[in-house]
C-alpha cells in the first residue's frame, strides 16, 4: 500500500482548507455585525433580515448556488460590477468556491454569535457607560470580549460547514481540478469513476477527521466559557 495522503490528495485538502479559510475570514465580520444587529437592535425589516440570513440554511444548496450565479456570474449585476471595478472574476474560480462556502456558513455563524451576544448582560454595558465609556468603547471592552466564545465557536462551526460545502459550490464554481474541486467534490467525482473506491474512502476519512476536529473544538470553546449546559448544536 502506498503512503497516503498522496500528493494529489494533499492538493485537494490544501485547496479545501484555502477555500474554507477565505470563506470564514469573509464571513466572521459580516456575521458578527448581523448577529449584533439582530440581537441588540429593533428596526423595521428586522424579521426580513433574520429570514434572509437564514435562507441558505433552508434553501436547497443548488438554489443558493444558482442565485449566486445570477448575481455574481460575469453578466450578473454584482459579478459584472466586480469585474469592471476590480478585475475580479469569481465564477469557476477558487474564490467563487469560497464565496459559495461563505454564504452557506453565514446562518450557522450568525446563530452562534447571536446567542452569545444575547447572553451578554446589557446592564454591564449600562455600567460601563456610567463609568465614562462611549457606546463604541463599551462594545469593544464589554460586549465583544464577553461574546468571544460564541465568535470562536461560530467560526469553527462555519469552517466545518465550509469544508463540507457541495451543492452551492458545484453550481456556482463548478468542479474544476485544482481550482474548485474541494474534498466533497473530489469524493463525488471519485464516485462517478469505477475502481476509485479506495481513493474515495481515503478522502472520506480525511473529511471525517477534519469535521470531527472542528466540531469538538467548537463545543470545547463554548463549554469552556459558558458552563456545561451551553452548546452550539
Amino acid at each position: 500500500m502506498t503512503a497516503w495522503p498522496t500528493a494529489a490528495e494533499w492538493g485537494i485538502v490544501a485547496l479545501s482548507l484555502k477555500v474554507s479559510v477565505l470563506a470564514v475570514a469573509l464571513t466572521v465580520p459580516v456575521s458578527y455585525a448581523l448577529a449584533w444587529l439582530l440581537a441588540r437592535r429593533r428596526f423595521p425589516g428586522r424579521i426580513l433580515l433574520d429570514a434572509a440570513v437564514h435562507l441558505p440554511l433552508v434553501l436547497p444548496p443548488v438554489v443558493t448556488g444558482w442565485v449566486l450565479l445570477l448575481l455574481f456570474g460575469r453578466t450578473g449585476p454584482l459579478g459584472h460590477w466586480l469585474e469592471e471595478a476590480t478585475g475580479l472574476v469569481l465564477v469557476f474560480r477558487w474564490t467563487g468556491a469560497a464565496l459559495a462556502a461563505a454564504v452557506m456558513a453565514l446562518p450557522l455563524m450568525v446563530r452562534a454569535m447571536r446567542l452569545s451576544i444575547e447572553a451578554v448582560d446589557r446592564r454591564l454595558v449600562g455600567a460601563a457607560r456610567t463609568l465614562g465609556a462611549t457606546p463604541w468603547r463599551a462594545f469593544l471592552t464589554i460586549t465583544l470580549p464577553l461574546s468571544l466564545p460564541g465568535v470562536l465557536a461560530g467560526t469553527v462551526l462555519g469552517f466545518a460547514r465550509s469544508l463540507g460545502e457541495f451543492g452551492a459550490t458545484i453550481t456556482f464554481a463548478s468542479n474544476i481540478p485544482g481550482q474548485t474541486r474541494t474534498l466533497p467534490l473530489a469524493i463525488y467525482t471519485g464516485l462517478q469513476v469505477p475502481g476509485e473506491e479506495a481513493a474515495v474512502t481515503r478522502l472520506a476519512i480525511i473529511s471525517v477527521v477534519l469535521s470531527v476536529a472542528a466540531l469538538l473544538a467548537s463545543e470545547w470553546l463554548v463549554r469552556r466559557s459558558h458552563g456545561r449546559r451551553a452548546h452550539v448544536l
Partner: protein, 204 residues
C-alpha cells in the same frame, strides 16, 4: 444646591413624578418597593430617558426636556453603585477599578482607593470569587475612581450580614464626610436612612 431634580418618568406599568430640591450632601430616597426608586436613579444616570423634567446636580444641568439637553451617561460623571453591582466578570478587581479611572488632580489614585476601601489584597481576583461585602466595596471603589461629580447608591446594604452592613455604612459615612460628593441614596431601610441622610425624600 446639590440636587435639583424634577422628573416624570416611566417605572413599571405607570408614570411617576418626583421632585428633589436639597442642599444636603446626602439625600435619601425611600418608599415601598416597586415605586420606581431604581428607575429614578437610572434616569439621573442617563440610562433611562425620562418623560419630562430636569436634572441639575451641583449646578450642572444633565437633563432638561424643555431646553433639549440630554447628556449621554458617559458625560454625566455619575458614580453609580448598582444594587446588583454589575462588576465586569471578565476583568480582575484591579481592571474593574481601572475601567473608569479618571486621573484628576487632587482626586484619589487607584492605590489610595484600594487602601480607602480595604480591598488591596483582592486586586488580582475575579469578581466571581468575591464575597458579597468584598464585591460591594469593589463596586463603590470603581464608581469613586471615575472621579464622579456625584454618587448614586442603590440599596447599598442589601444582601449583607449585619457586620458587613455596618462596614459599608461606615464607608458611606466616610465618603460623605471626607470626599464631600453629593450623594443620592436609595433605601427602604429606615435605620440606614436615619443615620446617613441629611434629607429624606419619600416616593409614594
Amino acid at each position: 444646591m446639590s440636587f435639583d431634580v424634577a422628573l416624570t418618568y416611566r417605572a413599571g406599568q405607570g408614570a411617576r413624578a418626583c421632585a428633589i430640591r436639597s442642599a444636603a450632601r446626602l439625600v435619601a430616597v425611600t418608599g415601598p418597593s416597586g415605586i420606581g426608586k431604581t428607575s429614578l436613579l437610572n434616569c439621573i444616570a442617563g440610562l433611562h430617558r425620562p418623560l419630562s423634567g430636569h436634572v441639575r446636580i451641583g449646578g450642572e444641568t444633565l437633563f432638561d426636556s424643555a431646553a433639549g439637553i440630554d447628556l449621554p451617561p458617559e458625560r454625566r460623571h455619575a458614580g453609580y453603585v448598582f444594587q446588583d453591582l454589575r462588576l465586569f466578570p471578565h476583568r480582575t478587581v484591579s481592571a474593574n477599578l481601572a475601567y473608569g479611572e479618571h486621573a484628576e488632580p487632587g482626586w484619589m489614585t487607584r492605590a489610595e482607593a484600594l487602601e480607602f476601601l480595604g480591598i488591596a489584597h483582592l486586586a488580582r481576583r475575579f469578581p466571581a470569587t468575591l464575597s458579597g461585602g468584598e464585591a460591594k466595596r469593589v463596586a463603590i471603589g470603581r464608581a469613586l475612581l471615575a472621579a464622579p461629580r456625584f454618587l448614586l447608591l442603590d440599596e447599598p446594604l442589601t444582601s449583607l450580614d449585619a457586620p458587613r452592613a455596618e462596614e459599608i455604612l461606615r464607608l458611606i459615612e466616610r465618603i460623605r464626610d471626607e470626599l464631600g460628593l453629593p450623594t443620592l441614596l436609595v433605601s427602604h431601610a429606615a435605620a440606614e436612612v436615619e443615620r446617613l441622610a441629611g434629607e429624606v425624600v419619600m416616593l409614594d
